[in-house]
């Protein structure tokens, strides 16, 4: 291949696929604010995401992973997102091991106007087969909120030796969701093994692409997972946001698949769409 032609072709491809058109929404379902105790993270804000073609981000707080003043964490998150002019959509965290955790659900919905909440079961000390999880799921669903479950924050091989948290065992989810058709649940940071084993066939829930790996990973995932249930998620600022954006470029997705992954599915999860694409 002629080198000049190669460079021109690939640069043009990158320009065409790595940035959204001005009128095209691109929603990141897995963004966070706050500090991370194990590593200094880049100071990414709504403007930094917009520069990368992301128009809106469902935003949780990294502080929620280890902090026990969850109400304070959620209030700071709401304030930070309110200052973003609608770019960052706050999702508060719920820790069912804390006293009066149901109040946090109410505050998230009624005080902060949140549409969803985020859970970190492996850092908060419970499993999805514990009765408390079903209770949380029911409470959140009855409140009309959607739920994000973070399956893992980082590779277990690289965790701090004194703060090791095994990934969430997702196997109980299919049975729990089968009897709760109204529940809107998204699993963040699931990897390909989780998707093809624990979550296999559980297509009433949404997943994001931050930890889907393998060459052509998104295209491969969509061979067995509905396009209406896969979302763009960056896991930024823990991860470089370019990772998930470049995954959109690496796989040869159709226009319909790209729209679903980058926009329509996130809206459906938030309850903003009347139809669920690809269902």
């Amino acid at each position: 291949m002629n080198r000049r032609h190669f460079i021109q072709t690939t640069a043009a491809l990158a320009a065409a696929t790595a940035h959204a058109a001005p009128d095209e929404a691109r929603i990141d379902v897995n963004f966070s604010t706050g500090s991370w105790p194990f590593r200094a993270l880049p100071a990414l804000d709504g403007g930094a995401l917009r520069q990368r073609g992301i128009t809106q981000a469902i935003t949780g707080s990294l502080e929620a992973v280890l902090s026990r003043d969850i109400a304070g964490v959620n209030a700071r998150l709401a304030a930070a997102c309110a200052a973003s002019g609608g770019m960052l959509l706050p999702v508060g965290s719920i820790h069912p091991g804390l006293p009066v955790w149901r109040d946090d659900v109410k505050r998230c919905r009624d005080q902060h106007g949140m549409k969803a909440v985020r859970l970190h079961p492996n850092y908060h000390g419970y499993t999805l087969s514990d009765p408390i999880f079903a209770e949380v799921l029911d409470t959140i669903t009855q409140a009309g909120l959607a739920m994000q479950i973070c399956a893992q924050m980082e590779d277990a091989r690289t965790q701090h030796p004194l703060v090791q948290a095994a990934p969430v065992d997702l196997k109980p989810l299919p049975d729990l969701l089968a009897s709760r058709p109204q529940a809107r649940v998204m699993v963040l940071n699931a990897n390909a093994a989780m998707i093809t084993t624990s979550l296999r066939g559980c297509t009433s829930l949404w997943i994001d692409c931050a930890m889907i790996e393998g060459v052509g990973g998104l295209g491969n995932t969509l061979k067995s997972w509905p396009a209406g249930k896969l979302c763009l998620g960056t896991h930024a600022p823990v991860f470089y946001p370019e990772s998930s954006l470049l995954k959109l470029q690496e796989s040869d997705l159709s226009l319909a698949q790209t729209s679903a992954v980058t926009r329509d599915n996130a809206r459906a999860f938030l309850g903003q769409a009347t139809t669920l694409p690809g269902k």
């Binding site: 823990v238 470049l246 690496e250």
Partner: protein, 265 residues
């Protein structure tokens, strides 16, 4: 992300890729590489792996790589897979695939830790041939495989061959530790491949080693090109440093064997 960098990928495999033959698999890899703007791939290990391959096994794996790169001589470089538990047979493979064949590098994986002197004859001969030497390393919080080297192990090896450049595969995975471990051993180079695209890896690598000791690689097909390219595209470093990492550092390590073999690249 649109700057037309020239990109060579240090770290590619034929596993985790669709295709019944090595040629088909490399074709698939190159299809994705083209989408991502990657010009050349360094390929090692066969379609099926074993942590401790016997001579028949690593010969077969090397045969598969030879078949694959023969189809794309202008796009792919081959590294020979060796096992330091089998020194005579590894020596023979080095002669077959590098001295008398088209391969330009050596891959050492997890059969035996690299800190002991048993590996020295292999390193010495690879250095004579000007082959690029790549040693897999990890610092795993939850424990390494018995034969899996750490960057500390590699430093011990590198001290015995201070004039031989050696690549620290994965930068130890837990890169905050790996980069510190290899920093003062100037003949060691950091491979960015095969760990999560955790923000900060490349900035720290450049800060501690300089871009001249940092190399982009993906570890595809188990990893995406995307997540690993993001470590460089997304890093807060200059475009000059990105270009150094994307190609120039690796190319500088390969130039001596290119000269020996008459390769123009």
């Amino acid at each position: 992300m649109t700057t037309p960098f020239r990109i060579w990928d240090l770290h590619c495999h034929l596993s985790g890729v669709p295709g019944l033959t090595p040629e088909e698999r490399l074709t698939q890899l190159l299809r994705y590489a083209d989408r991502m703007g990657i010009e050349r791939l360094c390929v090692y290990m066969g379609m099926k792996w074993s942590q401790d391959p016997g001579p028949d096994d690593f010969r077969k794996q090397n045969d598969e790589v030879l078949r694959a790169i023969a189809k794309y001589p202008d796009r792919a470089f081959g590294f020979v897979t060796l096992n330091p538990k089998h020194v005579p047979e590894s020596f023979a493979e080095l002669e077959r695939c590098v001295a008398n064949g088209p391969m330009v590098g050596v891959k050492l994986w997890v059969a035996k830790r690299c800190d002991g002197p048993e590996i020295d004859p292999i390193i010495a001969r690879a250095a004579e041939l000007k082959a690029v030497i790549f040693q897999h390393t990890w610092f795993k919080t939850n424990g390494n495989y018995p034969g899996e080297s750490t960057p500390d192990d590699l430093v011990k090896l590198a001290k015995r061959f201070p004039d031989v450049p050696i690549i620290c595969g994965h930068t130890g995975g837990t890169w905050e530790l790996g980069l510190r471990a290899i920093r003062d051993q100037k003949n060691l180079f950091a491979d960015l491949a095969g760990s999560d695209p955790t923000a900060g890896i490349t900035e720290m690598a450049v800060r501690e080693l300089g871009a001249e000791r940092v190399i982009y690689g993906s570890d595809c097909g188990g990893r995406s090109f995307a997540s690993q390219l993001a470590k460089v595209h997304g890093a807060a470093i200059s475009d000059t440093q990105k270009q150094q990492i994307f190609r120039e550092t690796l190319r500088s390590l390969m130039l001596p064997i290119f000269k020996v073999k008459g390769i123009q690249a």
